[in-house]
């Protein structure tokens, strides 16, 4: 395979803005699309692009990611040459540190980069959902002899504080990259997909007193120094899932009559470790439409415009609409779940209502939760007959006994009284 490429996927960051969904996992490990995790897209893109040497840099809450990746079998990455390796911070004889940032994570893995003897290093942000062939990108990068080629996309929304805006000249040469500008210049943003010529990256990483951040301390200085940094536009579906709204919106896209991201694409399948579950079953008075339904789901109620992950049960007379329900959650008879994201293993009691009333922004995090969604953390229990207003967060591990009242007003943040592990 020419030229030799090493892929490094950044998957170690903590996503504060995902609240309970990001407590026990990083954004790349977030379940997505009924059976996948977000990182499956990057990994599947790699193997479809013929890239089989992959390192995944992990640090924050890596357990679910490690369990998911395993030896990489689902992606045919259990290989003699190359394959996938999880790169965790480790203790050294001299100086030991956690990864202090994305650039520091690469610095601490300098030996991995050196040992790979790759001509180019493809650095991917792990929290992206996109289908992309990296082959043409690398070919263009090679052709133009660039030190760095960065993929750009049109910003999917106006949240400028989440993106780095790129301006390039008529030849695709990047002039500037502005992170989180108050007033963005244009709409092209960095997609979090970079190809570095290996020797240029290594030189930068070897610099003394290098700062910890890949964009601020490596890429922006390269642009400022006039190195050949090129932009390569991508015009297919691209989303990052770093916030509750972004995750929900990227998920709902899949339910459109003609989704911009087609999971049923036989030419570009997304791989993931499959679970041994029975096929989904609709029983009794159950009815389902405009939804994605995974194996092991059991529907006896009504499901509309929703995504059900493996093993979700919807009881008789229950209604689930405009919602994302993760693995093995039980929605008991006559409960209603409306515009909610429910994490794994939750239990919604008989006749309970999740998501009702006015959309008053969350009192503690108005910036993160004001669109009317209700978020239930892993294993949360909602007592029978209780009612939960919109923009409410029910933290992971909340038990029935944590409900002092049966009616939780909109914009609340309900926490478990006792801190519980796992």
């Amino acid at each position: 395979m020419n030229p030799p490429i090493l892929v490094l996927i950044l998957a170690g960051g903590k996503s504060e803005r995902l609240h309970p969904l990001g407590r026990l996992r990083t954004a790349p490990a977030l379940p997505y699309g009924g059976k996948y995790r977000v990182i499956d897209f990057s990994l599947s893109n790699c193997v479809h692009s013929g890239l089989y040497r992959i390192g995944i840099l992990t640090q924050y809450a890596p357990m679910s990611l490690h369990g998911h990746i395993g030896i990489g079998r689902a992606w045919d990455l259990d290989r003699r040459d190359g394959g996938v390796r999880l790169l965790q911070p480790y203790v050294r004889q001299r100086e030991t540190n956690w990864y202090r940032g994305t650039a520091d994570a690469l610095v601490q893995n300098r030996n991995v980069i050196a040992d790979a003897q790759a001509r180019h290093i493809l650095v991917l942000s792990g929290d992206l959902v996109t289908k992309m062939d990296y082959g043409p990108l690398i070919a263009r990068h090679e052709e133009r002899g660039a030190a760095l080629t960065m993929v750009t996309v049109t910003a999917p929304n106006l949240e400028s504080e989440r993106y780095g805006y790129v301006s390039a000249d008529g030849h695709g040469r990047v002039r500037s990259l502005n992170e989180k500008p108050a007033k963005p210049d244009g709409a092209e943003i960095s997609a979090g997909i970079y190809v570095f010529r290996a020797r240029d990256l290594r030189e930068r990483l070897d610099a003394p007193d290098l700062g910890p951040d890949l964009v601020r301390d490596v890429i922006q200085p390269m642009i400022a120094a006039g190195e050949s940094v090129d932009a390569e536009p991508l015009d297919s579906f691209w989303r990052d899932v770093g916030t509750i709204d972004a995750y929900f919106e990227a998920s709902q896209e899949l339910l459109k009559p003609v989704p911009a991201l087609n999971l049923h694409d036989h030419d570009w399948p997304i791989y993931t470790p499959s679970e041994d579950r029975a096929p989904a079953i609709v029983l009794g008075e159950g009815d389902a439409s405009m939804s994605l339904v995974a194996h092991g789901a059991r529907i006896e109620g009504t499901v509309r415009r929703s995504i059900l992950f493996p093993g979700v049960h919807v009881g008789a007379g229950a209604v689930v609409e405009d919602s994302i329900v993760l693995h093995d959650t039980r929605i008991l008879p006559r409960a209603v779940v409306s515009r909610a994201i429910v994490d794994k293993g939750a239990r919604i009691g008989e006749g309970a209502i999740v998501g009702m009333g006015e959309s008053i922004p969350n009192r503690e995090f108005p910036h993160d939760l004001s669109s009317g969604l209700t978020v239930l953390g892993k294993g949360a229990e909602v007592p029978a007959g209780s009612r939960i207003g919109r923009n409410t967060i029910v933290d992971m591990g909340v038990r029935e006994s944590d409900f002092a009242v049966r009616e939780i007003p909109p914009g609340s943040y309900l926490r478990a009284r006792a801190l519980r592990r796992g």
């Binding site: 009559p257 049923h264 399948p269 041994d276 579950r277 096929p279 989904a280 439409s289």
Partner: protein, 420 residues
Amino acid sequence: MSHVSYAMILAGGLGSRLCLLSEKRAKPAVPFGGKYRIIDFTLSNAVNSGIFDIGILTQYRPLSLRDHIGIGRPWDLDRKRGGVELLQPFQGWLENDWYRGTADAVWQNWSRIDERDAEHVVVLSGDHVYRMDYRPMIEAHLERGADATVAVAEVPLEQASQFGVVRTDAAGWITGFLEKPKNPPSGRISMGVYVFRCAALRQELWKDAERDTPHDFGRNILPALVDGGRVLSYSFPGYWQDIGTLDSYYQANLDLLSCDPPFPLEDSRWPIFTPSTENPPARLGPRASVRSSIVTHGTIVNGTVERSVLFPGVVVEEGAVVRDSIVMGESWIGPSATVDRAIFDKRVHVGRGAVVGHGEATSPNRGCPEHLFQGLTIVGKATRIPEGTAIGRNARIAPDLVEEDFPSGGVPTGEVLERA
């Protein structure tokens, strides 16, 4: 338990009563329940019971079975010690014939048992749907010092004549074994699940090999062992379904759809393993209505689906109706088409507005009236039904037909359509 660790699964037979479904595949390889093949139940029972050393005896059309089993990974049977092995007929110094029957198949592979120094061996059939822990049965077999132990299920008396009926004494020893009797004395029948003491089995297989018999476990080996007086019965009270006929195949699939199914596919304590296909979750479109049905990964439904089982990759287009049917992988039901009481093999293509299962079931199938009389219409693999065509009931449509093979007036009830 350590000395009963090897199982042989009989998977060689030709399932003629399954009509088209088993024409090109062995019966254990017939798809079932949305994502499984029938042999998955026996294989999963074995590994869930701690048996990880398995030989599968194949003869008739083993290719789809071989592809399905592969190296046994879904069952954790890709192992350094044990694992799974397909035992096809072979030529050797003494062996030079196809398997002449189930008993002969085991006899020709006796070296597999010898080289394990096994004292006991489990012999299973590969064409039943059930969930069973073999361990208590093995324990009973060892404790009672039986030559053979036979798992026994209770079926309605009128069905018993299709099976081997057992008579037992008060202590559970089998005193009589009648293979497919005309007038069954009871509904207690052999499930085709056996544990044998190897020395006893070897003696009977050897004797039988020299004789001119059907070389069949039920007809020859078990009656001979029963004469020795050391064959134990082991009652199994759970769900057990033989997939011998189209009717029982259809019924067993529909059993899965009842509100309180007698046989739930999902049971985390006793999972049924199968190779998973790389498919996204089932996608139900804006106009979809899915009721009392199984929808597998990779299906796309934009029409109406009722009381049906859809296998991976089935597409039901807008305005189409699929009712009381079993539709295997990657079939396409075109817009406004109707499918009613039908069994489709894989990759059947139903053109826009076509009707499968039209009118009344007034006459049985011309070609196989004894198997196709209950109103089901069966369509073979990869056949393409032209737009607007009406196909009656009890019809049998051959595989691989193209639009031009269909008469312009449609296919009447009870008809057999073969390539022109």
